[in-house]
């Protein structure tokens, strides 16, 4: 897929997250939801890099990947509303939402829990001599769990087709890495287990696409570790702002939140689109309200 099309999808995904954020402010959801502002480029690039039989094992902060794989707003939104029209009939909510038909085989709300399961998913592919690869998402918080090390060791020992993608946002809730633990050099750790390591940063969709495809190819012979530097705009669950003194303020009434930095995938997408960007983002925002459930539909859902 060409980078300009991917950039449009990044902005679309940003908008969809805005809509969820606004709905959270209105108290429309009864379930905990973790927005993933700042993760859009990874999600879109990974979606584009996956082969049809590949699978994902996601974390609790999975919204960007759910939208990217569904390539639609409604199934995920309706699931968050616990509607029968949702991606899983309103049964799984947000932190455990799976979409098997889109390759999202497993999603866990428990840090590190998805990694061992991803080993099993990958093991099945290997035994069937399939070329499919499993991408397991994780973070700098889950890296602290024993499951992270165990998974790398097990996957390498059995040469499983597994790519472990660390979204390193330097935060576990409100604590930065330096505030809670000693640093971990994921590259050195991977090297000690004879596992290839590929870093990602800067939200360049072309570079991300190349790196993810390279990782996918390498993973067919055994596990690969990718570490992406991510700036998550909010590290808590629920709406942003989440409380009166929340330093972060995100409001769709002020347009798409875009920060002038390579740490913001939306900014990089706007740069890539150039002159096309203002009109495209305006058209996205203009369509936004039509995506949400009307009060009538909502009353049907609640019955």
């Amino acid at each position: 897929m060409n980078p300009r099309e991917l950039a449009r999808r990044v902005l679309e995904l940003r908008l969809w997250q805005h809509l969820i954020n606004e709905e959270m402010k209105r108290g429309r959801f009864r379930i905990p939801i973790h927005a993933a502002f700042g993760h859009e480029a990874l999600a879109v690039a990974l979606d584009a890099a996956l082969a049809p039989a590949d699978q994902l094992a996601l974390t609790h902060r999975n919204m960007a990947y759910q939208f990217a794989r569904a390539r639609a707003f409604a199934p995920v939104y309706q699931e968050y509303l616990l509607s029968p029209a949702g991606a899983c009939g309103g049964q799984l909510g947000s932190m455990n939402l799976t979409q098997p038909s889109h390759g999202i085989a497993y999603t866990s709300s428990i840090l590190g829990n998805n990694l061992p399961v991803a080993c099993g998913l990958a093991f099945a592919h290997k035994l069937r001599r399939s070329e499919a690869v499993v991408f397991a998402l994780t973070g700098d918080g889950a890296m602290e769990e024993g499951a992270f090390y165990e998974t790398l060791l097990f996957a390498r020992s059995h040469r499983l087709p597994l790519a472990v993608l660390i979204e390193n946002n330097d935060h576990s809730l409100a604590s930065r890495i330096a505030e809670r633990r000693s640093p971990v050099d994921a590259g050195a750790l991977a090297a000690s287990l004879d596992i290839p390591y590929l870093p990602l940063s800067g939200n360049d969709l072309t570079v991300y696409g190349q790196t993810l495809r390279r990782a996918r190819g390498a993973a067919q012979a055994g596990p690969v570790v990718l570490e992406a530097r991510v700036r998550t705009f909010c590290n808590h669950a629920g709406a942003t702002p989440g409380w009166a003194t929340d330093p972060r303020h995100i409001s769709l009434s002020e347009g798409l939140v875009i920060e002038p930095s390579s740490e913001d995938p939306a900014y990089m997408a706007v740069r890539l689109l150039g002159e096309e960007a203002p009109a495209f983002t305006e058209s996205l925002v203009a369509l936004a309200s039509g995506l949400l459930a009307t009060p009538k539909e909502e009353s049907c859902l609640s019955r």
Binding site: Q91, Y106, G120, F123, A124, L127, E150, T151
Partner: protein, 315 residues
């Protein structure tokens, strides 16, 4: 003419496992049989010594082994994880509880299966650790089925029906019984889901056995018979939801319930069964013998020892 030699408990388990796995090698693919030292040294105390097919030796990552089993099952594969010993499963509780919850919410995966076959160190002398016997507790916590067979027919039926059945369960085997002749009790009745086996029907008492206490239950029934009394004898397994109607009706009829549980949990299924019986028939005399109070986790005196002589007295 020489007498036929009664096989040991372990030999019966080995033979039943081999019988279940052999045909499955062609029909249940892919099949992963994995375990720590599964084909090395003692082959997990002999448990996996005669297993046919490919055996995958794995490291010491129990949490990941459990998650891997679930992942294989989700993708329609089959996995049997052999484990020495049930204690190790405590390291995998997150996978058992949380992953199992999502598996249940998503519905039974198409065809895939995952079975954990673990040895329970109930032989005593293990020291304060390494003697975890909480199969009922684990199964209750994670809402998964478990089986702790003792009698020959129980072992054979449970392994045949459950080892590669779609979905997840835990099969537990008693190390205390490994070298002993297997209890060859006549089967009167078996529940369709293998949750309950009845070995005797009697007038004077109903004996229900959880967690490798069927041998004690059978000995008690024999002692009662010596005194001219007959007892019904059941072996119960933690299969959810509990369906104990047959035992409850039996106890209501006999007027006496004796429940054994060899686990060490403070909340035993024995109490739940007793409550069900007393709700249905308040006049039933109930004797519960669990290890709640006697489980001292010491090097010695770490066995289930119900007062059989006292219990055998009817009246």
């Amino acid at each position: 003419m020489s007498q036929p030699v009664t096989p040991t408990y372990l030999a019966t388990v080995q033979a039943a496992l081999a019988r279940a796995v052999s045909p499955a090698l062609a029909t249940h693919t892919p099949l992963v049989q994995m375990g720590e030292n599964i084909d090395k040294g003692s082959c997990i105390c002999g448990l996996t010594r005669h297993l046919p097919g490919v055996l995958t030796n794995i490291g010491n990552c129990e949490l990941t082994h459990a998650g891997t089993g679930f992942g294989l099952m989700m993708n329609g594969a089959h996995c049997v994880l052999y484990m020495k010993q049930l204690d190790f499963l405590l390291l995998a509780l997150d996978q058992l509880a949380n992953t199992m919850q999502l598996v249940r919410a998503q519905g039974t995966p198409v065809g895939g299966s995952f079975t954990i076959a673990a040895i329970v160190c109930d032989q005593g002398l293990q020291g304060p650790q390494s003697s975890f016997q909480g199969l009922n507790g684990i199964c209750s916590t994670v809402r998964a089925d478990g089986f702790a067979p003792v009698a020959k027919v129980e072992l054979e039926r449970i392994i045949e029906a459950q080892l590669l059945r779609p979905g997840f369960r835990i099969l537990a085997f008693s190390q205390r019984l490994f070298g002993a002749p297997v209890a060859d009790l006549p089967l009167l009745w078996e529940a369709e889901d293998q949750s309950c086996f009845q070995f005797a029907s009697g007038r004077d008492a109903t004996i229900a056995c959880f967690s490798f206490t069927l041998d004690s239950g059978a000995e008690l029934a024999a002692r009662m018979a010596t005194g001219g009394h007959s007892a019904s004898l059941y072996s119960l397994h933690p299969v959810f939801p509990h369906r104990w109607e047959r035992v409850v009706e039996d106890a209501a009829r006999s007027g006496r319930l004796i429940v054994f549980d060899g686990g060490k949990e403070t909340l035993s299924p024995a109490h739940k069964l007793a409550a069900q019986v007393l709700l249905a028939a308040p006049g039933v005399r109930v004797d519960i013998h669990t290890r709640e109070e006697e489980a001292i986790d010491a090097v010695s005196e770490d066995r289930f020892t119900p007062p059989l002589e006292e219990l055998a007295l009817c009246g």
